[in-house]
Symmetry: C2
C-alpha cells in the first residue's frame, strides 16, 4: 500500500490531511543534478530511452523536496516517434520530426504502434521507477493529447501560428479526424500499458487545445480526449486510477472537460481557482494553478502566493496543488523548496 | 465628410447598412506588392520611417479589397525605440532591442518621448495617409498596450515564457509600475498625436495581456489601458473618435475591459461572439472574431465561416468584422477577397 496517498485521494476528491503538491516538469533542467546526468548521457532522448536513467531523473526532485507524486520522465512525442516520424531535438528550438505529416497520404500510412515493442523503453521505465519508489509516493503516467500530438506532427515541430495544422483541419477535416483517431487509439494503448506497468494515475497534456475556437476544440481536441477517458483502465488491483485532463488556455471549457468523466481537471493560471471550483468543483478535482513565473521571485512572495491559492480553493476535498504549466529551466532550486513546503505548511487547516 | 463611415458608426454601436470589415495586419507580407516594396526599401523599419512608403503600404490592401477602414502602417515598438532601446529586426526571429531593460536603474532612466520630434515619422505618416485616403474610408491609429510594450522591453524581444518580465513584476512590482506608468503616459501622447494628425479612430493592442492571471492582468495591464482610455481625445471637429481595446487571450475579462469606457472590444477566436455579446454587447461594440487560420482553407469554407459569425452576432448594431489576430504572411490574397466580400454579401440582412 502507498505510504503517501494524498495525491491519489485528492485527485479522486477524497479526504486528505494536507493538500498534495507536485510540479509539471519537476524532473528537469532547473536541477543541476539533472543537467549533469543529461550532459553525461549525451541528450534528452538518451535519458528517456534508458529505463535506469529515466528512473534516476524521475527520482531526483523527490530527494530534494517533499513532493506527493512522481511523474514518469519521458517526452510527449514518443508516440509519433514510434509511428516513424523520427523525433529529434534542435538545439535551442525544441522538438522536431525528420518525417512530418505533409499530406493526406502520409496520414493514411500511419498505424497504431505496438506499445510493448515500439515503446518498450517507456513501459520498462515505468516498472523500474515504480519499483524504485517502493510505495513511498504514487507514480503518474502521461501522454500528450491527440490534438497536441497532431500539431507537432503536421507542423514538423514547434510553431507560433499553427498555420499548417489548422490549415489541414479547415481544408481536410476528414483527414484530420483520421489522424486524431489513430492518435487517440494509440494514446489509449500507451496509457493503459503505463498503468499495466505500474503507473497509479495518468494525465493527458493538451498543451495546444487553447489555440482553437470553442467549436474546433470540441470537435478536434476534446472529442478525442473523451475517447481516451472512456478507453482507460480506471481500476487496477482494487485501486482507482485517477485521470487528469489539462488543456492550457482551456479556462472557457472547464464544464465540457469535466463532463468527460475525468477525475481531475488541470488549470493554468488564467482563471482564479475559486471561480473554477464554483463552476465545476463538485464534479471533479482541480489541479493547479500557480503561474510558474512566481518561482522567479522570492521565497516569501512564493509562500504568499501559495497561501492565496489555497485560501481561494478553501476547505474541502479535491485540490491537487501544481503550477499552471511546467517549471521553467532557469528557476532557482531553493525557490521550489519554498513552494513545496508552503503547500504543506498552509494547507492543513483546510482539511480539518 | 467620410464617404464610407461604416467602421466608425459600428465601433460606436450606431446603425449601419452592412457590417464593416477590416483585418489586423491587412497591410503586410501576404501581399506581393508589399513584399516588393519592402525588398526595395531594404527593411521593415525603412517602410515605417518613410511617410510616403508607409502611406503606400497602408493603401495597398484597400486597392485590392473593399475594406471599410485603413490602419496606419507602423510597428507596435516605436515608443520603446524612441525611448532609446534601439529597435531592430532579427531575420526570422522578429523584433528585438539592442538596449533592453535589465534593471530598476534602466527603468528610472526612461522618460516620455516627445512625440512630435522623436516620432515625427509616425505623425507625418498619419497626415500623409489621411490626405491620400481623401475621406473615402477612415484611418485607424494604434499603439501597443503598456504591458505588451514592457514585455518586449524587459525580455529584449519575443519570448516564449515571459520569465524576465514576470520575474520583475513579481520581484520588483514598484519598478514595474514605474515602467508601465511612463509607457501609459507615452501611449496617451502618442495616440493623441495620431488623432491630432488625422487618425479617426484608435486601437490599443494588448497582445500579451493574456499571459497574466486575472489579478495580474487587472493590476499590470488593464489598469494602464484604463489610464489611456481616460486620457485620449474622444471628440475632434465634432466627430467621436472610437477607441478599441484588444487583449489576445482576454476572453475571461471582457466585462472589465468594457468597464473602462472603451467604445469597442476586440475578440480573439477563443470565445463565441454570441456569448461575448450576451456578456457585454449592450455596453460596447465587438470586433472580431474569425480564426486567421480559416484563411488557409477555401473561399467556400471562408464564406461559410463569415456567415456563421455574422449569424452568431445576429441583428443589431455594434459589430466590426475582423480576424481574431493578425493575418498570417503565407495566406493567399484571393482568400482575403472571399473573406471581405462575404462580410458585405451576408451582413445586410442583419441591419434592416
Amino acid at each position: 500500500m502507498l505510504k503517501n496517498d494524498r495525491y491519489i485521494k485528492a485527485a479522486l476528491s477524497q479526504k486528505v490531511d494536507k493538500t498534495p503538491v507536485w510540479m509539471m516538469r519537476q524532473a528537469g533542467r532547473y536541477l543541476p543534478e539533472y543537467r549533469k546526468l543529461r550532459s553525461e548521457a549525451g541528450d534528452f532522448m538518451a535519458l528517456c530511452t534508458n529505463p535506469e536513467l529515466a528512473c534516476e531523473v524521475t527520482l531526483q526532485p523527490l530527494r530534494r523536496y517533499e513532493l506527493d507524486a512522481a511523474i514518469l520522465f519521458s517526452d510527449i512525442l514518443t508516440i509519433p516517434d514510434a509511428m516513424g516520424l523520427e523525433l529529434y531535438f534542435k538545439t535551442g528550438e525544441g522538438p522536431a520530426f525528420k518525417k512530418p505529416i505533409n499530406s493526406v497520404q502520409d496520414i493514411k500510412a500511419l498505424a497504431v504502434p505496438d506499445i510493448y515493442s515500439e515503446l518498450k523503453y517507456v513501459t520498462d521505465a515505468v516498472s523500474t521507477i515504480r519499483k524504485a519508489l517502493n510505495n513511498e509516493t504514487p507514480l503518474i503516467g502521461f501522454s500528450g493529447s491527440p490534438w497536441t500530438l497532431a500539431t507537432y506532427m503536421v507542423e514538423g515541430g514547434t510553431t507560433k501560428n499553427f498555420g499548417k495544422v489548422k490549415g489541414m483541419m479547415f481544408s481536410e477535416p476528414a483527414a484530420m479526424h483520421q489522424l486524431l483517431d489513430v492518435l487517440a487509439k494509440s494514446v489509449i494503448n500507451y496509457l493503459n500499458a503505463q498503468i499495466e506497468s505500474g503507473a497509479q494515475a495518468v494525465m493527458v497534456f493538451d498543451t495546444w487545445g487553447g489555440v482553437l475556437s470553442t467549436r474546433d476544440y470540441n470537435e478536434f481536441s476534446l472529442c478525442y480526449m473523451q475517447q481516451i477517458v472512456d478507453g482507460l483502465i480506471r481500476n487496477k488491483d482494487g485501486q482507482k486510477i485517477p485521470v487528469t485532463l489539462y488543456t492550457k488556455g482551456g479556462a472557457g471549457w472547464l464544464e465540457a472537460m469535466a463532463d468527460t468523466g475525468a477525475d481531475c481537471i488541470g488549470l493554468d493560471w488564467s482563471i482564479d481557482i475559486d471561480k473554477a471550483r464554483a463552476r465545476i468543483g463538485n464534479k471533479v478535482a482541480l489541479q493547479g494553478n500557480m503561474d510558474p513565473c512566481i518561482l522567479y521571485s522570492t521565497p516569501k512572495r512564493i509562500e504568499q502566493e501559495v497561501a492565496d491559492i489555497l485560501s481561494k480553493f478553501g476547505t474541502g476535498n479535491g485540490h491537487v496543488f501544481n503550477l499552471g504549466h511546467g517549471i521553467h529551466p532557469t528557476i532557482e532550486p531553493e525557490n521550489v523548496k519554498a513552494y513545496v513546503d508552503a503547500v504543506h505548511l498552509h494547507s492543513g487547516k483546510y482539511h480539518l
